[in-house]
Amino acid sequence: MRIRLAAAFAVILFFVLAGVGVSAAYWSTRDTATGNVEAVSLSANCQPASRLTNGSFEVKDMGTAQSITQAPPTDMAPWTTTDTTIEVWSNGVGGVTPQVGTQFVELNANDFGTLYQDVTTTPGQTIRWSLLHRGRAGSDTMRVELGNAATGVMVSQGTQTDGTSGWGRHEGVYTVPPGQTKTRFAMVAVSTASGNISVGNFIDDVSFGSGPCLKVATTVANQTNTLATTRPGDTLRYTATVTNSGGSLALASALATTLPAGITYVPGSMVVQGTAQSDSAGNDRAEVSGSTLTARMGLNATATVGGSVAPDDSLTFVFDAVVQPSAGGNSVVLDVAGTYADALAPNWTQSTTANTLTTPVANGADMSIANLATPTVVAGSGTSVWSFQAKNLGTLAAAGTSAIVTLPASMSGATVIATTNAAGTATTTCASTNGGLTRTCAIGAVPLNETRNVTVSYSVPAATPDGTQLSVKAAVSTTTYDPASSNNSATNSATVTGDTTAPTAPVLSATSTTATAVALSWTAATDNVGGSGVAGYEIFRDGVSIGTTTGNTTRVYTDSTVKSGTTYAYTVKTLDAAGNKSVFSNTITRTTLPGTASYQVSYTQGTTTLCLTADSTANNAPLRLQTCATPTSALQTWRFTVGANTTVDGVTVPSYSVVLASSTTRSWDLGTNSAANSLPIRVTTIADNYDKWAMVKQAGLEEYSFVNAGAKTCMDVNGQVATTNKQLQSYECNDTIAQNFTMKNLTQ
């Protein structure tokens, strides 16, 4: 009883403690499997490479004729076969063209044999294999096996079946197992379409190897000299050879290098695999960007993508560079690096191993010369200075330095000196040869980075035409080795700009006026300081140039082309030697004297114009205002006959007898030889100064006053009223309109 009670209690307790909330009846458990994995490091492809050889069965040429050869295995070494021979097909016999080379093999030579090759491998190495397979008389089947060559334990990599329509490509990846240092790659004949044991399974282009491994080796050759030492200025030819020492194709293969500071690229010198390349991008397999050179290598490389480099292939990238003076005493260190990709990881760019080439460079001087200052040359304006600065840019002091200056033909009289110390306090006058056109300056020693100046001074003559170019050349040389010749000379050119400043304008005046000439004179003008100087004057009449004078001392001009009784406006401009002209001078107006011309003389008041008219040709006939006849009347047609000079307001002027054209003996005359006012004017026989009249032009008007030479009174219209029959009178000159008259030349 106790036992049963205990058992029942145990069962109840079990369910209470164990059964609550645990799926009532099912139990679970968990196991684990733990492992380590590691990503490949493709750089391991280079250490060491493994590769099958004679993959295309070309190691022994079976001849040019189409043939089938039962070759002993030694002919196709290192291939080995379990068959008695290796059957080699050549040159498309039977209508089957080898995919690679000129030969391929038939796996079923005499039996269902196995063709294999043992390759040294590294455990863990990633190997890729590939082959071309084709049936002979139908679908043939083979099998790839890989395994340990030492033990003979092989693992199938699958079977391959192909017909006669073409070659079938088969490939795979294999990782060398631990401890396997020699791997056997075997191709096993499985079946043939015909069942014939010796007919079937063509094979070509077999590969079995580790990944690609590009290496770059760079060499340099001095193109300038054969000395053992490289010097600044030498042209170096770099040849970078990229080699695939791996077991498979390197894809996207490219080389690049950035030239160090000590060398500069020679444009157009890149050659890729024997073909010259341009420097620009996008058109071929290489380009230059700044100091970086890039070349895409291998088969099918393009302007943007690198090509493939087969195992054992070596391709070259060649370019030239010039050693710079700054490299003297140092070494030029060039690193050509490459990139490529493995077909198994095409997106993983690999880099070639480092390849650095160091080229020691010897010291050298580098004397340079450059323009220091170029003058602004104004002909005749003083001394102009051309200057140059020579500097030693090299790595070695320059000894026996000299500068040779070549002058233009017009500058043989120039002064040329050069400094001979860094401070410029010591100078030397340069020796003159070649008629003064060549000057040799003995500068002497120039330490590193020091400068010497060469100065050419010359006063350009004023007559030098504007635009003349004056080019002074200077060349520097040294007895020390100076490899860089491109900076050894300079040309300093200045253009004569000439005088562009106009001289001042003169002040014009008239010295005399006659019926046939107007004499002008003016004050002396001046040119600007440093200018070409006053060369003469140009005279204008009514805005038209009528003549010039030369020099600054001749400052008079007589215009003899005038017409009598005509008013002209004169101005003058000053000319300088450079052709500059001043502004116009002041304008003076002169009216030539009447001469032999006939005139109407009229008086205008308001809108009424009346002509001075004699009553008749009789002596003492009154002179009155009458209507102007058209054509004119004989009694109102006058000629002016010049007489003795008289003085008006202190100025000596000619006087005239104003006579009727129809009766040359009747002239305007005062009624009484007196200076009294209001004396009637009449025409009388010419007798004395009281029948002579001076003509005074009213300023700003084309009107004249007539001043009686005897009485010094003026012809006057009483009351300033223009009415017919009004007799003219004399009256003291008062500058009123009563004394202003207009002359009309009837002969023009």
Partner: protein
């Protein structure tokens, strides 16, 4: 993972002394308590629901399996094959799952965990590009082997649970695939994974 078989002694028709009877009762009580406590704390011990429960006999079964005879198996040599983008590494020889329990068991792939990267984020990046699967081995012509999933085809774990009766075995393979898009920065990086396999008792 311990096993427990609680077994009650057979009853005896012979009369025993009172002292002995008291000792027997106490021992049986203690055994029942031990059985109950152990069962509640176990991870895989089971109660065989088919086992008859009576006053004289109470028994418990076991749910358990092993991988190559151990609960936590360490795969060696998997890292001998270096991984390439889009390609796999796989166990050279199959792993053997064995039902070491007394009841049928159903095994399914569980989660995969990665050991924390020791120092660099690169290892983490590497792990994030890896896929771990467990699949049944291929048996042909009497040979059992592990076959890599072809390039271009994503590997996959078995989807139908593997059911093993007590003592039964099944060969499986563990395959790890590196993504085709993995960057070159993972080159040479290593990672350690733990693949869980879940076993559940099933009715026979």
């Amino acid at each position: 993972m311990s096993k427990l078989f609680a077994r009650a002694a057979s009853s005896s028709k012979a009369r025993r002394s009172p002292i002995r009877g008291m000792l027997v009762t106490a021992a049986m009580f203690g055994g029942a308590v031990l059985l109950a406590i152990t069962a509640t704390g176990g991870t895989y011990a089971m109660w065989n629901t088919k086992t008859a429960v009576n006053a004289s006999s109470v028994s418990a079964g076991a749910t358990d399996f092993t991988i190559n005879d151990v609960k936590n198996y360490t795969i060696s040599g998997l890292d001998m094959t270096k991984m390439l983008p889009g390609r796999s590494v796989i166990t050279w020889t199959p792993l053997v799952l064995k039902n070491t329990g007394t009841t049928p068991i159903s095994i399914t792939p569980g989660t995969v965990t990665w050991a924390a990267p020791s120092s660099s984020t690169d290892s983490s990046t590497f792990a994030s590009n890896l896929t771990v699967v467990v699949k049944e081995a291929v048996v042909a012509n009497g040979t059992t082997s592990c076959v890599v999933t072809p390039y271009g085809t994503a590997p996959a774990s078995f989807t139908t649970p593997i059911k093993l009766t007590a003592g039964q075995t099944r060969p499986v393979c563990v395959e790890v695939r590196l993504s085709d898009n993995a960057s070159s920065s993972v080159q040479g990086k290593t990672a350690t994974f733990t693949l869980n396999l879940e076993g559940v008792q099933v009715r026979s």
